[in-house]
């Protein structure tokens, strides 16, 4: 199992957190990925990456006006300069005493805690626990683009569950979403529209 640390915590609340990482670390985290923040005594928080943004600064604004940026300048700005990329994470659950809950964590992580990407096994374990309770955190979020986030997340889950011998997982998840959004037609259409854009998502089902 490869353990990939994607950064350290900048700020947090019980509903989410922002992680800082160097631009050179950015090939690991992707929109919709499940991440985990291990804390003490087996307590671990789960979250979904819903935003990745890169701030500029005065020098970067200046550099973009140059004709043909030198490779050394690009390397310098990505590796040396103190401009972290910020990764927004939506809290979707936690684990305590080996039990996974799709509830908001009792307390947020602390500054500089390390954030790791979840591998396929952990993704399957988290998404199989309970009955998709974590969907409500995504749908209720005012900051995350719910439809796009669900589409990205379900695509990753579908691949992991299919590989683990559970290709039917995606149908169950979609039915649950339809149930949750039965009284919210605009959001339901938005979510189904995003899901339909995932090429081949339902092909195997």
């Amino acid at each position: 199992m490869t353990i990939i640390a994607i950064g350290r915590l900048l700020r947090a609340s019980t509903t989410g957190c922002v992680v800082g990482c160097r631009v050179s670390q950015l090939d690991a985290p992707a929109f919709g990925c499940l991440v985990r923040i291990p804390l003490e005594n087996g307590y671990q928080i789960y979250g979904l990456i819903y935003d990745i943004h890169i701030d500029d600064d005065g020098l970067v604004r200046q550099l973009v006006t140059a004709e043909g940026i030198d490779e050394a300048v690009i390397l310098d700005n990505r590796h040396n300069r103190n401009v972290p990329a910020e990764v927004g994470v939506l809290a979707v659950g936690y684990r305590q005493n080996s039990q996974i809950y799709h509830l908001l964590p009792p307390r947020p992580p602390l500054s500089l805690d390390t954030i790791y990407l979840c591998d396929a096994d952990e993704l399957c374990r988290f998404t199989q626990a309970g009955r998709f309770g974590y969907f409500r955190h995504i749908l209720r979020s005012t900051e995350a683009p719910a439809a796009e986030l669900l589409a990205a997340h379900l695509r990753e889950c579908h691949q992991a569950h299919t590989a683990a011998g559970h290709p039917e997982w995606i149908q169950t998840a979609t039915r649950e979403l339809i149930t949750l959004l039965r009284d919210d037609y605009p959001t339901l259409m938005s979510v189904l529209g995003a899901l339909s854009d995932i090429h081949g998502l339902f092909a195997s089902g």
Partner: protein, 417 residues
């Protein structure tokens, strides 16, 4: 209290009313200076004789001295076959402050190195030096800002020297400088020239009072030694002056116009084009990428730089077509007298400035500045560290001056907050 804007508005208007006439006079002087500049081109020997004659009357003479290159010559951007290693160093300092609770002084030097075609990112290195308590006082009291600045200038050049020694293929190798990671041991840069940039002139202008202090003389001797060591390593050293305000060449032209009888009456008598700068002459003759002729510097402080250290300078247009931007570049004689070194420096500076885009300035120097700069928050944190160290040892800690404490008082707060 804020500025009295009602009163200042009246003064601004008056200032503006005088501006057109002032500009007209400056333009007239600029044109006259430029005409003379072109006319004297080719008479460099006569100009040098004139400087020597004036120097007999005025030992404090300050002006440019022409070299063998024609006065108004311009040199196109050369093409380099080998890209050099570029080192840059810049420093900042926390001056001792008698108003603070603890007196201390820090010299912070940042360095930045770029190696050609290197797959690794450029290196940034920092070295922070807290001056020993005994260095905080001289026989004239608390160490002056001029002396701290000299500590900083010396530290910058030492850092460059250490980094240059550390470069594979350099003439000497003395290990990595303190705080620096060792350079990869491969020989990819064997024989690659090294250019070392610092911000500002190499000439150190100091008030006479500072120059007379023994500590100044010791630090200055060390400074010259370090420059000599850099020369021995064949490192192309240069001081880069952005938006130069120098008028050394204009002073040379003024000297030419000064009647023989007035040469004895002191420097002020020969100043007829005050306000005209060298860039006013070179802006119209240098195309983007071109450098001017080389000049030597005649001044009392430049006289301390002898032999291979003798100070020279040239102007360089690092701007774009339609947007000239001139820099003044100071080099020691060992660079000025070496055409290959001069070509390397010329190309590197234009190349470095173009990296930054529309506001040209050497990228490596800017990065060294970024590394070196000390923020107010860092200063406050360091002060707290020193106070805690004294308290931990049961030693008395001073107090802020009342003046400083009153300055730090918060402004009015709003009820109920």
């Amino acid at each position: 209290m804020p500025i009295d804007f009602r009163d200042i508005q009246r003064q601004v208007k008056s200032w503006g009313e005088k501006a057109p006439e002032r500009e007209r006079q400056l333009n007239q002087s600029r044109q006259a200076a430029l005409d003379l500049f072109h006319r004297l081109s080719g008479q460099e020997d006569d100009l040098r004789l004139r400087v020597e004659r004036a120097l007999q009357e005025n030992p404090a003479l300050r002006c440019a001295v022409p070299t063998q290159e024609a006065l108004d010559a311009s040199f196109a951007l050369p093409e380099l076959t080998t890209r050099p290693v570029v080192l840059a160093a810049d420093g900042s300092q926390i001056n001792p402050d008698r108003h603070s609770a603890v007196e201390f002084c820090v010299v912070n030097v940042g360095a930045f190195s770029m190696r050609p075609k290197c797959p690794e990112p450029p290196r940034e290195i920092i070295h922070s030096h807290l001056l020993d308590p005994e260095d905080l006082y001289t026989d004239r009291g608390l160490v002056s800002e001029e002396i701290v600045a000299l500590h900083r200038d010396l530290a910058e050049r030492r850092f460059v020297l250490d980094l240059a020694r550390d470069m594979p293929g350099s003439a000497a190798s003395n290990g990595a400088p303190e705080g620096a990671e060792p350079v990869p041991s491969d020989q990819a840069w064997q024989g690659t020239p090294t250019v070392a940039l610092t911000d500002g002139p190499l000439e150190l202008y100091q008030e006479r009072e500072a120059r007379e202090q023994p500590i100044f003389q010791k630090l200055f001797a060390d400074y010259l030694d370090v420059l000599r060591d850099i020369a021995r390593l064949d490192v192309v050293a240069a001081g880069y002056v952005d938006k130069p305000h120098a008028d050394l060449v204009v002073r040379l032209l003024e000297l030419w116009r000064t009647p023989e009888a007035d040469l004895r009456k002191g420097a002020r008598r020969s100043r007829s084009w005050i306000g005209i700068l060298d860039v006013d002459l070179f802006r119209s003759i240098l195309e983007p990428g071109e450098r001017s002729a080389l000049f030597a510097i005649q001044s009392t402080s430049a006289q301390r730089f002898q032999d291979e250290l003798a100070l020279h300078f040239f102007y360089l247009n690092v701007g774009r077509s339609g947007h000239p931007w001139l820099a003044r570049v100071e080099v020691p004689a060992w660079v000025a007298h070496n055409p290959a070194a001069l070509c390397t420096l010329h190309t590197v500076l234009v190349d470095q400035c173009r990296m930054v885009g529309a506001r040209p300035y050497p990228y490596a120097l800017h990065r060294a500045h970024e590394v070196a700069v000390v923020s107010l928050a860092e200063k406050a944190e360091l002060e707290q560290m020193l106070i805690q160290e004294l308290q931990r040892r049961g030693l008395p800690v001073g107090e802020l001056s009342s003046k400083q404490m009153l300055k730090q008082l918060h402004g009015r707060t709003r009820y109920p907050k």
